[in-house]
């Protein structure tokens, strides 16, 4: 390697503030990467709905499996909520294509290197399982066919397994790109998306729940998921900074993330849950819990929108992308 290429001062600390951005030459400040052409609201909206649907299938199926007949009302709610991903989410995905009339080409192949391809198949399987379950549930609810209950529960099991997939593959979708903010810490993004999905799914199940004990159990699950998300966010941001992508955490959308995801989506509901437990008045306790649920869902949606926007911003800034693609960020073990 030519000597003058080593001219850059090597920072001593692993995550010193000096390592924040690329100080060397850029090409007239032009982008080195092309930012993803996703519409952040449309794709972020889908990722949120897939997370909510998938996770509500997981949580409600667990409730039914553990509580049996007692958990049937959560199971029923979960089956209806799982329809959000197919009925609203999937059309959003097609809407974001630049040639939407060819959406069916997604089913041409299966490719394990492409999370978008894997996600297509996981979503398809989810729609199958959840579809059977919801049709059976409709038969029970509208036609009074009691014998369909078993089929509804049977359909929920595959919906829960594939639901775990659709609520998390979207992290791999973003991480398996070259956008520095998405690529910097794929595991951190995975944990954040997964915990936010469970929080949103569980919060949606708790929305309008009449039984106080069920509501409290669901709120406790949401609370644990939010605490997981809180820790995961701190670790994710730390790892992103260690890879020199810290400059992307100073963008406008990074501030929006802080306010909407952490403030509105995590800290506010955690406080409201504590308040709801202390309230003696059942109606007011329920209202406070519902308010918390809505805040959790709004925060979960904003996590996806802001993550997309911060990633797009990181890709279009050469001082971020050229810093991220320095040799010190190469995976360690892969050198032969």
């Amino acid at each position: 390697m030519p000597e003058h290429r080593d001219g850059r001062a090597v920072s001593k600390g692993a995550a010193s503030p000096e390592a924040a951005a690329w100080k060397g030459p850029t090409y007239y400040g032009r982008s080195q990467l092309k930012p993803s052409p996703f519409n952040a609201w449309v794709v972020g909206g889908y990722i949120f709905l897939a997370g909510l649907s998938g996770a509500s299938a997981v949580v409600s199926t667990v409730a039914e499996a553990v509580q049996g007949e007692r958990g049937a009302s959560i199971g029923r709610k979960g089956r209806y909520l799982s329809m959000l991903a197919p009925l609203v989410g999937a059309p959003l995905l097609i809407l974001d294509l630049h040639t939407p009339t060819r959406f069916y080409n997604m089913w041409r192949i299966v490719k394990r290197t492409s999370p978008m391809s894997l996600g297509t198949w996981i979503l398809t399987a989810f729609i199958g399982g959840a579809g059977v379950a919801v049709v059976a549930q409709l038969g029970v609810d509208l036609l009074g066919l009691k014998w369909l209950k078993r089929i509804a529960r049977l359909g929920s099991a595959p919906a829960a397994i594939t639901g775990a997939g659709i609520s998390t593959y979207t992290a791999a979708l973003l991480a398996a790109t070259s956008a520095p903010y998405w690529a910097a810490d794929e595991k951190g993004l995975g944990v954040r998306f997964a915990s936010s999905s469970i929080a949103a799914g569980s919060a949606a199940l708790a929305l309008g729940e009449k039984s106080r004990s069920t509501r409290r159990t669901l709120n406790a699950i949401t609370g644990i998921a939010l605490l997981t998300e809180l820790v995961a966010t701190a670790v994710h941001h730390k790892n992103v900074k260690a890879k020199g992508v810290g400059a992307s955490l100073e963008s406008e959308w990074a501030h929006i993330e802080e306010a909407a995801v952490l403030g509105l989506g995590v800290l506010l509901p955690l406080g409201l849950y504590v308040a709801s437990r202390r309230l003696g008045d059942r109606k007011r306790a329920g209202a406070v819990s519902d308010l918390a649920s809505l805040a959790v869902m709004a925060g979960s949606a904003m996590l996806r929108v802001s993550t997309i926007r911060i990633g797009q911003d990181s890709a279009s800034r050469p001082e971020v992308s050229l810093r991220f693609s320095q040799p010190e960020n190469l995976p360690k073990k892969r050198r032969a």
Binding site: P25, Y28, P37, R102, N105, M116, L118, A172, T177, S325
Partner: protein, 314 residues
């Protein structure tokens, strides 16, 4: 293998032809194009004169419209960047002397310290193009299979399959692939797939007047590049190195090698190239594992909470 172009050129002394010359690439590039072999570009930036014939030849052959006919103010580069309509792009890097008011925090953009005089003594020019990566991230990410590896080991978008999801755009570590908003499809250099099928070398390589762009079999090109680097080092240009050959910058992070590679004399960032790109698909499994194990852990916590919950009918 190596065929001397003149040997075949002597067979065609006329200046007007009524038929396509079979295997014309043997005349113009000294290479026979056969399916099943690996082909690529070797772009030697030390002999680039910035004439932009490659850009023009590419646009003409591929029927690509101009992106913007304005002036950028960025040296002689009014093309700007590779795009859906621009598959060759000549970078112009004007090296100037450092200015007194330059600071580390605010270095003049595109300008670096060196001991050369201002004006035309410190030019770097480089014709950028799709790298046709061995492990092409665009192809690995494509959910429809529109992006594929051809029989010439190049990477091409099938326009009749692409549905414009745009995932390849964010996967590319070099910022090459782009969507055209007019037709809603992804576009990039095809390494003149149609010409290769007809025995013609790619338009840009044929048009290049200084052999800065060389088309050929990858193994031949690697040899040529190594010889050229040695030659340049012997002549005192010690900064010369290859970008994108096996184990060189640009072929890092499991990328193996790039079918279109470059000979550079400054750090990759000066040419708007990443020093050490990585293969995005290696991040798929860890992201999945982290997400699914979090779901599993939280589902377990939910099971414990549901099991411990008392029934109340209120």
């Amino acid at each position: 293998m190596e065929i001397h172009p003149f040997a075949r050129a002597r067979e065609y002394p006329d200046s007007v032809f009524h038929d396509v010359i079979p295997n014309e690439s043997e005349l113009t590039g000294g290479v026979t194009i056969e399916p099943g072999k690996q082909y690529g570009f070797f772009t030697d930036t030390t002999v680039c004169i910035g004439c932009k014939s490659c850009e023009v030849a590419c646009k003409e052959w591929n029927n690509l419209p101009a992106d913007d006919i304005g002036l950028t103010g960025q040296s002689y580069d009014n093309t700007g960047a590779l795009s859906a309509n621009t598959w060759r792009h000549v970078n112009f890097i004007e090296k100037k002397q450092a200015l007194a008011d330059d600071t580390a925090e605010r270095p003049a953009r595109g300008v670096r310290d060196n001991d050369q005089n201002a004006f035309q003594s410190g030019w770097l020019m480089m014709s950028d193009v799709c790298k046709h990566c061995h492990h092409a991230p665009c192809m690995e990410s494509c959910p429809t299979g529109a992006l594929f590896k051809t029989e010439f080991d190049t990477v091409v978008v099938q326009q009749d399959i692409c549905n414009g999801c745009g995932y390849c755009v964010s996967a590319c570590p070099f910022g090459v692939v782009a969507l055209n908003p007019l037709d809603g499809k992804a576009h990039k250099c095809t390494l003149c797939y149609d010409r290769l099928k007809g025995g013609l070398e790619p338009a840009c390589a044929k048009a290049c007047p200084t052999e800065s762009i060389q088309f050929g079999e990858l193994s031949d090109l690697w040899e040529r590049a190594a010889t050229r680097v040695e030659d340049l080092h012997a002549r005192g240009v010690t900064s010369a190195y290859t970008y994108g050959t096996p184990d060189a910058p640009g072929a890092t992070g499991d990328m193996k090698y790039l079918n279109s590679f470059f000979l550079l004399t400054d750090r990759p960032e000066a040419y708007n190239l990443p020093a050490a790109p990585t293969r995005p698909s290696n991040r798929v499994a860890p992201a999945f594992a982290a997400g699914l194990s979090t779901i599993a852990g939280l589902a377990l916590a939910a099971a414990v909470l549901f099991a411990g919950a008392k029934t109340t009918r209120d």
